[in-house]
């Protein structure tokens, strides 16, 4: 960026905004975070905190591995317990087609050096005795982590605050202020805030803000509903999932978190009994003993869904001083640290350790 020590405004105090603010404030940058609601209020809280490693390949695999390293580092540095745990994954396979498909995938991953194994039913039950005995097999991995997304986001916000970041809670960004092809600040519900760099990390609400400069960002809200059970003596240790989007994750306190489909229903955070019933049915199908367990809470949030499920990161052609860090779809918590590091490095050094072009807003036009 052009200015020597730029003033930075981050829009959104979700996990991405807080993590970017943390990295920038630590580097001595004057950074202000604008948050219309509260910290960790939307997509950052509507997830189970899965940091899936074994399901990735190529660039995204390298990035999530770096993210884990950075999360461990931030946990150490902030002194906050993110409950980052190498829990592992067990994907249950229930049809011959699933077994065939996963057999190929596992071979590929093993060839790439990942600790992923295909287990037969007997081995599956020996590994996790509480899972449904009717499985045809499973994919077991020790590479995947879980994290408490609230502890993470709040820990990063505190770390950012201690390093000098200003968190303005209850202040909504209404429009970007521009002049001469450059972003100069943000109009908020509490007046104007000048900035050399504005970073949009407003999740599903990012397109609304970018419309103020006639930029069309293809991010839409997608609802995810989450259920949590009472705390229980351990039934399982790993995250148990199907080959689709349903997972059952044990928290550090012994609650089981059940989620979550991608529901494209607009800006609607209602809990719906039909979907919740599907979640519970599927979860009990994975771990039968859950049928007897109390559900203590359910909630929903809106994830920022992008057309290819990858985030929009980095500069916007034609607009100096504007950086995107949004559209993480279902991967925001897992990729929080690495994508935030990439954005912070762009501000600090003008470059990032992974190719930003792959996440540019231009990528979709290019592929057309």
């Amino acid at each position: 960026m052009s200015t020597d020590r730029p003033e930075v405004v981050v829009v959104g105090a979700g996990v991405i905004g807080c993590c970017i603010a943390y990295y920038l404030a630590k580097a001595g940058i004057a950074v202000t975070v604008l948050e219309r609601g509260s910290i960790c209020a939307e997509a950052s809280s509507a997830n189970a905190g899965l940091v899936s490693v074994s399901t990735r390949e190529g660039l995204l695999l390298s990035m999530v591995q770096e993210s884990v390293r950075l999360l461990l580092e931030a946990q150490e540095e902030t002194g906050s317990d993110f409950e980052l745990t190498r829990a592992g994954n067990l994907v249950l396979l229930r049809t011959e087609e699933e077994v065939a498909k996963q057999t190929d995938l596992v071979e590929k991953q093993r060839a790439a050096g990942l600790d992923v194994q295909l287990l037969d039913p007997r081995e599956t039950l020996r590994t996790e005795p509480a899972v449904n005995p009717d499985v045809l097999g499973s994919v077991c991995s020790s590479l995947d982590y879980t994290i408490n997304p609230h502890a993470l986001t709040i820990g990063l916000a505190r770390g950012a605050g201690r390093a000098g970041a200003k968190l303005r809670i209850g202040v909504e960004a209404i429009a970007l202020r521009v002049g001469g092809g450059k972003v100069t600040g943000v109009l908020t519900t509490d007046g104007e805030v000048g900035a050399d760099v504005v970073i949009v990390a407003a999740g599903a609400w990012s397109p609304a803000l970018l419309r103020s400069i006639d930029l069309d960002l293809p991010v839409e809200p997608s609802r995810g509903q989450i259920l949590v059970t009472e705390s229980l003596p351990p039934l399982t240790t790993r995250t148990i999932r199907d080959t689709g989007h349903i997972y059952v994750r044990r928290t550090d306190r012994g609650n089981y978190v059940i989620g979550s489909l991608t529901e494209r229903v607009g800006f609607n955070k209602q809990l719906t009994p039909d979907k919740l019933r599907d979640y519970v049915k599927e979860a009990v199908g994975l771990i039968p003993a859950l049928a007897e367990v109390r559900i203590v809470r359910a909630w929903a949030g809106l994830r920022p869904l992008s057309p290819d499920n990858n985030p929009f990161l980095g500069p916007v052609p034609g607009w100096e001083g504007l950086l995107l860090a949004t559209g993480h779809s279902r991967t925001g918590v897992g990729f929080s640290a690495v994508t935030s590091r990439m954005i912070a490095d762009t501000v600090l050094e003008g470059k990032a350790s992974f190719p930003l072009e792959r996440f540019s807003i231009s990528r979709l036009q290019a592929s057309k």
Partner: protein, 103 residues
């Protein structure tokens, strides 16, 4: 020494039975809740909390506060203050701090 804290006179009790608390026999009467039977036998600690492993006992006594959770016949988190005793019922004190690890 086990002191019986029950009212001695003027009310009709159910049949005397026994339950097991952590493997130890406890005499009580049908029609009593688990929590009532245990407190009558001088036991005030029903579980140990998850965060600080601190003792917990009856608080509301009417099923809303969830402080009196015990494991009953293998089922965790049963509210002992609203669950009646049954002959031979196996009741266990919960040590919830141990649930935290479990990996």
């Amino acid at each position: 020494m086990v002191v019986d804290r029950r009212i001695a006179q003027g009310l009709e009790r159910g049949r005397p039975i026994e339950i097991e608390l952590d493997g130890e026999k406890v005499g009580c009467f049908e029609g009593e809740t688990i929590a009532a039977a245990l407190i009558a036998s001088g036991r005030r600690t029903l579980r140990h909390s998850q965060k600080h492993d601190a003792p917990r006992g009856i608080f509301c006594g009417m099923g809303i506060c969830f402080e009196c959770l015990m494991t009953v016949d293998g089922v965790p988190n049963v509210r002992s203050c609203v669950t009646y005793v049954k002959p031979g019922m196996k009741v266990e004190t919960q040590h919830e701090a141990a649930w935290k690890e479990g990996r």
